[in-house]
């Protein structure tokens, strides 16, 4: 069976005043139906560009240089804006943003905003006009209730700033499900929340995946979250996938030196990466060879000569490191 979402050696560059930035430089990932894939990386490694590339909303000056984004067997990269809007966004791929306060338009009522997407993308049940809108409201209220948002009936009439952070995130999770998509992409949805709320949201997401028959692409920089939530894992460094495999396997036997360094300097799997010496190479000047070589404790001369090939580690994970070639 073909995977639900497969990103294939994707390369994206952005032209800036200072030169061309190769933001994504051979990223690959695979999300099987019904599973949760965690994408982990430091800030600046290209996570958000990856999401933008999948959604077809690249920033100004960005272009896809190579690769594919296969979604249910179709290459999203060849879709026009109109096709993406008509057939993909919301209706088949839902989206949960990082900071719910910033992601909601502050000057419109929550209901207005959520219904706007449903108006175009909710499945056609034959109703039109007022009736269709009424059904949308009904469905939203039901979803909000499911998300344990208090007073779901009046919630739609309120403005974003009138909710707490956790409630807002529940609103947006509800919104991502409103048009019954098969895939939901979540962009660090718990970063802006306190630890307790974060935990509740993760639990909720876990339940929803089973309940709604979803697949979830969960982007984060937090291994702890990945361990708690995900089935599979994909580690990105400097615009490249360096290790990908089932969560259990990777966490027990991290194969790539980068993954090991991350886990080693953070035994408690906390959210920070500051422990690794050196810096991520600038996307404007990618070095030859392995991107991690400069910071890698195990680097050999050949690491700096040529890009390491994809290999299979003993854990079963795919690794990009000469050690396994």
């Amino acid at each position: 069976m073909i995977p639900l979402l497969k990103v294939d050696s994707l390369k994206v560059s952005i032209r800036t005043d200072d030169g061309t930035a190769r933001v994504l430089d051979d990223v690959g990932l695979t999300l099987e139906r019904g599973r949760i894939l965690g994408v982990v990386g430091e800030s600046g490694c290209g996570k958000s560009t990856l999401i933008r590339a999948i959604m077809g909303i690249l920033p100004k000056g960005a272009s896809v240089d190579a690769g594919h984004v296969w979604f249910e067997g179709e290459n999203l990269l060849v879709f026009s804006e109109a096709e993406l809007n008509g057939r993909i966004r919301s209706s088949r791929i839902g989206f949960i943003p990082q900071d719910p306060l910033l992601a909601l338009n502050p000057v419109f009522k929550v209901g207005t905003q959520l219904l706007e997407a449903m108006r175009w993308h909710a499945p056609d049940d034959g109703t039109r006009g007022r009736e269709r809108r009424r059904r949308h409201v009904e469905r939203l209220v039901g979803l909000l209730r499911r998300m344990q948002v208090p007073d779901p009936e009046t919630a739609l009439e309120r403005y974003p700033h009138q909710f707490s952070g956790g409630q807002r995130q529940r609103l947006l999770i509800a919104a991502s499900l409103a048009c019954a998509p098969t895939l939901v992409i979540a962009d660090e949805p718990t970063t802006a929340l306190d630890v307790t709320t974060q935990h509740q949201i993760l639990l909720l997401l876990r339940e929803l995946v089973g309940e709604f028959g979803l697949s979830l692409l969960f982007v984060t920089h937090d291994f702890g979250v990945v361990a708690e939530l995900c089935d599979d894992l994909c580690v990105i460094y400097a615009g490249q996938t360096v290790e990908a495999g089932p969560v259990q396997a990777v966490l027990q036997a991290p194969a790539h030196p980068y993954t090991r360094a991350l886990l080693a300097c953070h035994p408690d799997r906390a959210a920070s990466f500051v422990g690794i010496p050196g810096r991520v190479p600038s996307p404007l000047a990618r070095p030859a060879g392995c991107q991690f070589a400069a910071r890698c404790g195990e680097a050999e001369p050949r690491c700096r000569e040529a890009s390491p090939p994809q290999a299979r580690a003993r854990s079963g994970a795919d690794v990009r490191c000469v050690q396994y070639a």
Binding site: M55, N85, R89, G94, A103, P106, V107, Q113, W120
Partner: protein, 336 residues
């Protein structure tokens, strides 16, 4: 909402009083003797002395001020030294013409300026944006009187499409006064000939006056849109598939207009003052030419009244701006 407006109004009163003090002192420092001016060209010194006594111009300035404030509180702005008509009457007759012109030009500049500003914002740093930026600066930089004369030459003289001057053709009779606003009165009384004629007369002065405002509105809408586009919610709205035109013209625009609305408030004051030149060139019977006349003849009562009036209009418009801000962004209303 009501409380918000009332509180703003209460805050305005001391400012207006301050304005009154400043202008009163200022105008009374002007050396020209209103009595000399009032008496007219052929007056004798006795006539002048008589007038000075009659109008209390020989009293100390604080006493004159107290008398004046007392009168203003009863909406009595005194009598023009030159026309010998009550200033309040002149203002009631002339203000509608100026407001009509001001509103028309604001409407023009908003209707044209906002879409252009949005377009420039969306096309940031491309040729259309550069052109619009230069155009909008041009609008601010061009001297209104020069532009007005060019418009007259083109549309009134060479093409003959629009009238050259005034607010109504000399051969048409004025519609009966109901509100004092010529166009409104024409509609109310069903004088469609006067309405069409008045509209044609309004066009050139309104376009001239709109130019500076148009440029400002383009600039601020552009930067508002640029700011808004940086926001996460625009990405979110695109990601969940908002249709582009609605996204831009409803969801982005409403967030981008705060600065533009502020500017409209500032512009309004400027438009009334800027109308001075336009009203002179097009013989528009409004408050602007009245003010110039008053200044040129040193008519103190009129200068005081007009300054106070413009200050009051300015304050009122700024209250409206605050209300508009509140309507645009519900968070502001709550905070207030």
């Amino acid at each position: 909402m009501l409380r918000f407006v009332l509180r703003r109004c209460a805050l305005v009163l001391p400012s207006l009083l301050g304005l009154l003090v400043v202008t009163f002192l200022l105008i009374h420092a002007v050396p020209s003797d209103p009595a000399v001016a009032m008496a007219g060209d052929a007056a004798t010194p006795e006539q002048i002395a008589q007038l000075r006594l009659q109008y209390g111009l020989d009293r100390p300035i604080w006493e004159q001020f107290a008398v004046y404030v007392g009168k203003v509180a009863r909406f009595d702005f005194g009598e023009s030294a030159f026309s010998h008509r009550p200033v309040a009457l002149d203002i009631v007759q002339r203000l509608p013409a100026t407001l009509e012109l001001t509103f028309a030009s604001l409407l023009l500049s908003v209707l044209i300026g906002v879409p252009l500003g949005v377009a420039a914002g969306l096309k940031h740093n491309t040729w259309p944006d550069h052109l619009l930026r230069i155009f909008s600066v041009l609008g601010v930089a061009i001297a209104a009187f020069w532009f007005a004369i060019m418009l007259q030459l083109l549309f009134a003289m060479n093409l003959g499409w629009l009238p050259l001057r005034g607010e109504l053709s000399a051969t048409l009779s004025k519609p009966p006064v109901v509100t004092g606003f010529l166009l409104l009165d024409s509609i109310v009384t069903g004088r469609w000939d006067a309405f069409a004629d008045g509209l044609r007369h309004l066009l050139l002065p309104a376009v001239t006056l709109a130019l500076g405002g148009l440029a400002t509105i383009v600039r601020f809408t552009r930067s508002g849109v640029l700011d808004t586009l940086q926001n996460d919610f625009v990405f979110y709205e695109r990601a969940v598939g908002y249709r582009w035109p609605r996204l831009v013209w409803i969801y982005v625009l409403r967030n981008s207009l705060t600065a533009t609305v502020t500017q409209i408030g500032l512009l309004f004051g400027g438009l009334i003052a800027g109308g001075v030149v336009v009203e002179a060139i097009f013989d528009w019977p409004g408050i602007g030419s009245y003010t110039v006349q008053a200044i040129l003849t040193g008519d103190r009562q009129v200068m005081l009244a007009v300054t106070l009036l413009v200050g009051a209009v300015y304050a009122a418009v700024n209250i409206l701006v605050d209300v508009a801000h509140g309507l645009l962004d519900p968070r502001l209303m709550e905070r207030a």
